[in-house]
């Protein structure tokens, strides 16, 4: 069964159709890349899936149930986590706290528990911390040690990207949406991240939906690739199939001379 199905989703902003009848199926345990030129509607799909946008038409089905109309936090709780195209951290909170916020939807301490220091609250606080540290630990020593207690704004660009992913991992997702995770990274960091993405699937058992412009990364990690243009799917299949598809080449390079 497909873990996630985007069925005929349309979304327009005024007269501009960002998505028009897009279909994407994501199988459990695969890494699916979405490629397409700028403005193809890739990030809009993510925003529709995570509940930031409500689709005008169509349905989004996660584990057999529609998630259209749920708030973003409910969708996160169901097990869909994401990162953003431009890094969005909580800059004045520490690295560890950023990851601990990820555990929010997996914990339940209320004001009462926090004020009266109930044993269950202490236990839960410990577990939140452990989960957050484990999520940070996924990136080896990049986010470990003294860095955990520094404010997130003090991190380097690549580490901010990693922290954003660690925060998403801390929500204990089954489906992870990564929006251009290697944007702005140098070649070496890109390669490291490529390995991390594969490890997230192999070691953490995540299903990953990836938007990516760096074709070496797409080629290296994807089980399948979906190509979009003008809010529609124009090709689907293995990397080689999609890369050689004439619609895709046309979308990226433009039409051959008319005539």
């Amino acid at each position: 069964m497909n873990l996630l199905e985007v069925r005929g989703v349309s979304k327009h902003f005024g007269g501009l159709y960002a998505l028009s009848g897009l279909d994407v199926e994501v199988e459990e345990g695969e890494i699916l890349s979405i490629i397409g030129p700028n403005g193809a509607g890739k990030s809009t799909v993510f925003n529709v899936i995570t509940g930031l946008y409500t689709p005008d038409d169509g349905n989004v089905v996660f584990r057999g149930e529609s998630i259209v109309g749920l708030t973003p936090n409910q969708i996160t709780r169901l097990g869909i986590a994401r990162t953003f195209q431009t890094v969005h951290l909580f800059p004045n909170m520490t690295v560890l706290e950023n990851a601990m916020v990820g555990q929010h939807c997996r914990s339940r301490t209320t004001i009462f528990g926090a004020v009266f220091l109930t044993p269950s609250m202490r236990r839960e606080e410990r577990s939140i911390r452990e989960h957050a540290e484990r999520a940070l630990g996924f990136f080896g020593r990049r986010l470990a040690g003294y860095r955990q207690d520094q404010p997130a704004f003090s991190l380097s660009y690549a580490n901010r990207r990693r922290l954003e992913m660690a925060r998403a991992l801390a929500t204990e997702p089954t489906l992870l949406l990564l929006d251009e995770p290697t944007a702005g990274m140098n070649p070496r960091e890109t390669l490291e991240l490529r390995d991390h993405i594969v490890r997230m699937r192999d070691e953490l058992g995540l299903t990953i939906l990836l938007i990516e412009h760096d074709m070496r990364v797409v080629k290296g990690v994807s089980d399948r690739v979906v190509a979009c243009d003008y809010g529609q799917k124009i090709a689907e299949g293995s990397y080689e199939e999609v890369a050689n598809d004439e619609h895709v080449i046309e979308a990226y390079l433009g039409t051959k001379a008319a005539g």
Partner: protein, 589 residues
């Protein structure tokens, strides 16, 4: 263009403008209490701008990356130029007043009186007076310059000691009863005639304060190091400090007498308001300008529940709904009511952010005040006449209308609110609020229900703020709408901002500075708002993060640098080893 005027002259001009301004608004002329000997508050205030400007100009400063110190003579001479400029401006002011005549000026600036002019000119008419003023300002500027040019270890104790002397000169009303309570004589310190310090007392206090500060600054590092030598000594010292603070808090109202206990009580009420607002603004980032609503809800609910009467044209009458609960039974109900009002105010503004939220909550604050004093609800809350005869929450012999007893009630409530704020800050709830403040949309995407946590912030902030209102009702025993003006919201927000948003110690310091200091130095009472404005502007320019910002590090930073260096060494050596061994590098091109 301003940049082209030499720095020294610019400082003098600023000092001059401030001096003339202080004269015009009356701070100089109308404050005639004596501080030391025959020197009045007004004279002290008038001398401060030139001294301060001289000090600032002569202070060591960074010029193109290099710390540059002035020699004492350079300091004195640049201070003198500052003073000359300041004096010139004041001389112009004196000249203009003489030219137009005091009466003409007084039509606009009522503070300009013959007394003020004779203070400025040392009693000499005409040019002689102006010259004397210039000479005086030159001397003051030079003194400031001399202080500024001395090394830190002298300058800082000097400034602190001078501040102590001036403050003490204004505090006979508090120090005298306290010393009398301890059975100590103070006629060597305070003059019986002027009620200010005697010259002997001033010099003695200055010397003691100077030596103490000097010695502490020279030895504090060693003392701190010794107390931190082992965990046991550190814990011991911490216990002693805590015990001293606790003992001080308990002894305070008896030492300072009933008038000052009342000021402390008011400070406590604003600590509660500040802590509550700090949750809404500081933790959750929701700018609430109508926080007075919760203050009013707390006060009026307490009045109704504990059996206050409403004021009518014919006397007193019980409100249409009235209970005679004990204050301590009523408090939980008050808190619940305020939390519900918080939800009520929060619900319609869930989708608003920033400026829009501020404007709408501003409206809610006014709505609350108008409702409580409306004719429509006159039967319940007494309309514009308000309510009176609110019981003073007695327990046994303790009557909390007595300011010294009230202090303990406030202290207890503040401790509870402090504990709650502190626990919430470092919990799952506090993190969710912080995340929301940092980026609402992302917090939602990471799994925080922003709707729920916004409502929770309003409810929790409202509940704590209502405690302040309840205590206010007990403190004054009578309520009317004049107590619930916009100014309360503004003051509470100023307390939070001054201390540092989201900082719990900041709220305490903010309340002490904005409520306590104006209360203690009651000479300045009529200039309270002027001072608020000046203090807030200074804070926003010099220290926008607040007096005690809510960031963990400061001393920790140094330790962290060390840790970071070690870490960097370890990582780089590892990476060299790793990149040599692994083929990772090959695909990078």
């Amino acid at each position: 263009m301003i940049r082209r005027i030499p720095r020294v002259v610019r400082a003098g001009l600023v000092a001059g403008i401030v001096s003339v301004y202080l004269c015009l608004v009356g701070v100089v002329g109308s404050l005639v209490t004596d501080v030391v000997g025959r020197i009045t508050v007004g004279r002290v205030v008038l001398s401060i701008p030139a001294i301060l400007a001289g000090l600032v100009v002569a202070r060591p400063r960074v010029v193109s990356g290099e710390l540059r110190r002035s020699s004492v003579w350079a300091g004195v001479s640049s201070g003198a130029i500052v003073g000359l400029t300041t004096g010139a401006l004041l001389a112009v002011f004196i000249g203009v007043v003489n030219l137009l005549g005091i009466e003409t000026i007084r039509n606009v600036f009522i503070a300009v009186k013959p007394d003020l002019m004779s203070l400025l000119t040392f009693g000499h008419a005409g040019v002689v007076g102006s010259v004397l003023r210039i000479v005086a300002e030159v001397a003051l500027g030079a003194v400031g310059g001399a202080i500024g040019a001395t090394p830190d270890r002298i300058r800082v104790p000097t400034v602190i000691a001078a501040t102590v002397v001036i403050s003490l000169g204004l505090l006979r009303r508090i120090v005298h009863p306290a010393l009398a309570q301890l059975g100590l004589r103070d006629d060597w310190l305070f003059s019986v005639v002027t009620l200010g310090l005697t010259w002997f007392g001033a010099v003695a206090v200055f010397v003691v304060a100077f030596v103490t500060t000097f010695a502490w600054r020279a030895n504090s590092a060693a003392i701190v190091a010794r107390t931190h030598r082992t965990p046991a000594t550190e814990r011991g010292v911490r216990l002693i400090v805590l015990a001293a603070i606790g003992g001080g808090l308990i002894a305070l109202p008896f030492l300072v007498g009933s008038i000052f206990s009342q000021i402390l009580g008011t400070v406590g009420i604003y600590v509660l308001l500040g802590l509550g607002l700090n949750i809404v603004v500081g933790y959750a980032g929701l700018l609430d300008l109508g926080y007075v609503a919760f203050f009013a809800v707390g006060a009026y609910t307490t009045a109704v529940l504990t059996g206050g009467s409403r004021v009518t044209t014919t006397g007193y009458a019980p409100p249409s709904f009235s209970l005679h609960l004990s204050f301590f039974v009523a408090i939980p109900i008050v808190v619940v009511v305020a939390a519900l009002v918080g939800l009520l105010i929060g619900a319609p503004v869930l989708r608003l952010r920033g400026d829009y939220l501020a404007i709408v909550t501003l409206g809610f604050g006014e709505i609350a005040r108008v409702l409580f004093s409306s004719d429509w609800l006159k039967g319940a809350f007494g309309g514009t006449q308000g309510m009176t005869a609110i019981p003073a929450a007695p327990i046994g012999n303790l009557n909390f209308r007595d300011t010294q007893h009230f202090y303990f009630l406030v202290l207890a409530f503040c401790l509870i609110a402090l504990y709650i704020s502190w626990r919430l800050a470092d919990s799952r709830v506090g993190r969710a609020w912080n995340a929301m403040r940092e980026d609402e949309q992302v917090a939602e995407a990471v799994g925080v229900s922003t709707v729920r946590y916004k409502l929770l912030a309003f409810a929790m902030g409202g509940a704590i703020g209502s405690l302040g209102g309840a205590l206010f009702a007990v403190q004054v025993g009578a309520l009317n709408n004049a107590s619930f003006m916009l100014l309360v919201s503004i003051t509470a927000l100023a307390v939070v901002i001054l201390g540092g948003m989201g900082s719990i110690p900041g709220v305490i310091v903010g309340a002490l500075v904005l409520i306590g200091i104006p209360g203690v130095f009651s000479e300045f009472e009529q200039y309270r708002l002027l001072l608020y404005g000046a203090v807030l502007m200074a804070i926003m320019i010099l220290r926008p993060q607040g007096l005690i910002p809510n960031i963990r590090r400061s001393q920790e930073l140094e330790e962290e640098d060390v840790a970071q260096d070690k870490w960097a060494e370890a990582v780089t050596s590892d990476e060299h080893a790793a990149s040599a061994a692994s083929p990772l590098g090959e695909g990078a091109g």
